[in-house]
């Protein structure tokens, strides 16, 4: 059974613009699934529909066998989402924020303590987690968002432009975390403009153009003999 199954997803905005048009794709456990497309192609809208932020007009989204429309809480309990610009509660400290998220996901004290220690140290955030988030830089907020997303060991990690704002070391560490999550039976679905990362990190890719899915599947099948960049430029032209 796929962890994420999107069937004929259609989302129209109030200005009648079709942001996503009849999109279908499926993500299995163990997949690192890259989602690429030009600005305004519908990537973020699709991700937001998957995590239950946006409603949608037609289609179905199932996560771990649950429908996001009929049983949104069961779906959200197994996923974690990090937006492109992680706006966190600025009045909380890093620790308070992570504990807040852990409480919402009903994470046990021991599990959260272990996760905070492990990922706090990994992302070199432990010395700063006691400070209020308003004093953090963009990269520190990003790392705090990543730690909070991992605190409940999600089966499906959904990331919107996860590498924007991260320094090279944090970027490397995030890639390691993604691989570790997948090796534990999870799946990753992320949007990005960095085609090089997709080519090296992902096993599957989907290309979206003006709301419509242009291509989807194993990365080698999609790009063939050419580079992903060359393939992308070809479908975008």
């Amino acid at each position: 059974m796929p962890i994420l199954e999107i069937k004929n997803l259609t989302k129209t905005f109030s200005n009648k613009k079709k942001a996503v048009d009849n999109l279908t794709l499926s993500i299995e456990a163990g997949d690192i699934f890259g989602f690429i497309g030009a600005n305004g192609a519908g990537k973020t809208t699709t991700l937001k529909a998957v995590v239950g932020i946006h409603s949608f007009d037609e289609g179905e989204i199932n996560i771990d066998g649950h429908s996001i429309k009929k049983d949104p809480l069961a779906c959200k309990a197994v996923l974690a989402y990090i937006p492109d610009n992680p706006d966190l509660y600025e009045h909380l400290t890093g620790y308070q924020y992570i504990h807040f998220v852990a409480d919402l996901y009903n994470v046990s004290t021991s599990q959260r303590a272990q996760a905070i220690k492990e990922y706090g140290d990994l992302f070199e955030m432990t010395p700063n987690l006691g400070n209020v988030i308003s004093s953090y830089s963009h990269g520190m907020k990003q790392r705090t968002a990543i730690i909070s997303a991992l605190v409940h060991s999600p089966k499906l990690l959904i990331l919107d432009e996860p590498f924007v704002g991260l320094d090279p070391k944090a970027t490397f560490l995030l890639k390691q975390v993604i691989k570790e999550c997948v090796s534990n039976g999870g799946a990753i679905f992320f949007s990005t403009h960095v085609l090089d990362v997709v080519e090296k990190l992902c096993n599957k890719v989907a290309v979206i153009k003006t709301g419509k899915l242009i291509a989807s599947g194993p990365i080698e099948e999609i790009k063939g003999n050419q580079s992903l960049e060359a393939f992308f430029m070809e479908v975008e032209s």
């Binding site: 937006p83 807040f100 209020v132």
Partner: protein, 520 residues
Amino acid sequence: MNRIYLLLRTQIINYFSLNEMKQSKNKKEMIIIVGLSLAMLLIFFCIYNVLTAQALARMGEQDLIPAYMVAVSSFATLILTMLRSNGILFGSRDMDMLLALPVKLHELISSKFLFMYLLNFIFSFLFMVSGGIVWIMHTPWDILQFALYFISIFFVPFIPMCLASFIGLLVVLASSHFKNRNIFSLIFSFAALGLIGYISYLGMHSGNNIEDLGAMLASQVTGLYPLSKLFLKHTVFPASVGLGIFIAISAFVFVLFIRLVSVKYDTLNALASTSSKYTAGGGAGIKKQSQFAALYKKEFGRFFNSYMAVLNTGLGVIMLSLFSICLLIMPLDRLGQYVGIEDMNGFLSTYAPILIAAMLSLSCPAASSISLEGKNIWILQSAPVSVRQILNSKLAVNLTLHGFAYLLAVASIMVRLKMNLFQNVSVLLIPIAYSVFTAVFGIALNKKYPNYAWGNEMIVVKQSLPVIVTNMVCMTTVALPVLLHWLLPVSIISLAWIIAVIIFIAAIIMYQRTCRATFI
């Protein structure tokens, strides 16, 4: 000038979310609600001013009308600007972006100040035009004086705005030295408001001569705002000269203030924007909590962390708490003297439930609590929490605030007043219905019309559609028993009970319907 206009226009579009309104799915519905609210506000102000002006004219004191209108609108401007100058003039989120643009600092400040001026001008306009028409109808024809009066409408907000911004600045400067500057900003702001109220009270009650009604009224009006003296008829110079002097002083003070602020604006703005840097210790010791407890604590922290939210939506609760403390520590007759009520025991025995309800209805943080999530809304939207749970946590914060003031008020009233059983039960139960209705109506409206794309908290805390409509509807439900009592031969408490039952049922229905949503 073009750049000031451009900045001002952008600010208006952004502040009132005009584009979002235009592109909204519920465009028609929104226009109707906004239109009706504005029309109600307009009618209410005009009727109030016309009736007040007519009352003065009936007493033969029509010459006092201009001074009265200037004094009241200036006082309103002073208080309203104090409540928001630190969000518009200083510390707004767009400042970093604007300071990087090729615009002169004084153009930037002028645009911010003009924006605040526009908001205040509406008040002055409503006061002065409606009162002015009554004044003209009862005054011998003097074109110069009338013309200067109407020209002065444009200048009336200047001095109170400068004064309020200056006080706001002092609050910023004083609180910037403290670790937790938000709390100190609030304390200083309330202290400043209290001081202004006290000075006005002293001014209005000094030198009163009860035998000369005209002199007493003139003394009270000019005591509230001394510059309004220039609108009274003088023997030393004609009234038109007084109006001319007022216009000149106002313009001079405004230009001077802008120039002075420009000199140190970047420093002052940086002080107003600085966030607290305190450390709250390590992660150890934080226990696992239920979803509701986590949301409630977060919401409570969010509310008290917002200077704007506490100052604006907590005003009713603070006023009720202060009144309750006064009731406890002061003799009843002395308190009656201060507020101008002879039989305080009799008055409060009848009106206490409505008084408490009115104060609670003024405080509705729930009406802006969903919008206040702003760009953080994704956290709740993507978390496995039901809409009901989120709404409950926000309602609980509202009801906790109400509960504090309510308990204090009920306790002080029951201890100090001699009331029968029915009156006691009324004081206990009627305000609860109003409190629940206020909170639920506010959150339901905010759920229907959220605004997450604000750049300044003031937009959602004070000027947003859910806040304005909630205040108006709740105050109408408070006024309804009083109005119906004038029209029908039914006691005011019985009417308050009927309204309380109706709004309580309405609150339950609204709550159930709002909680059915699957998206926040």
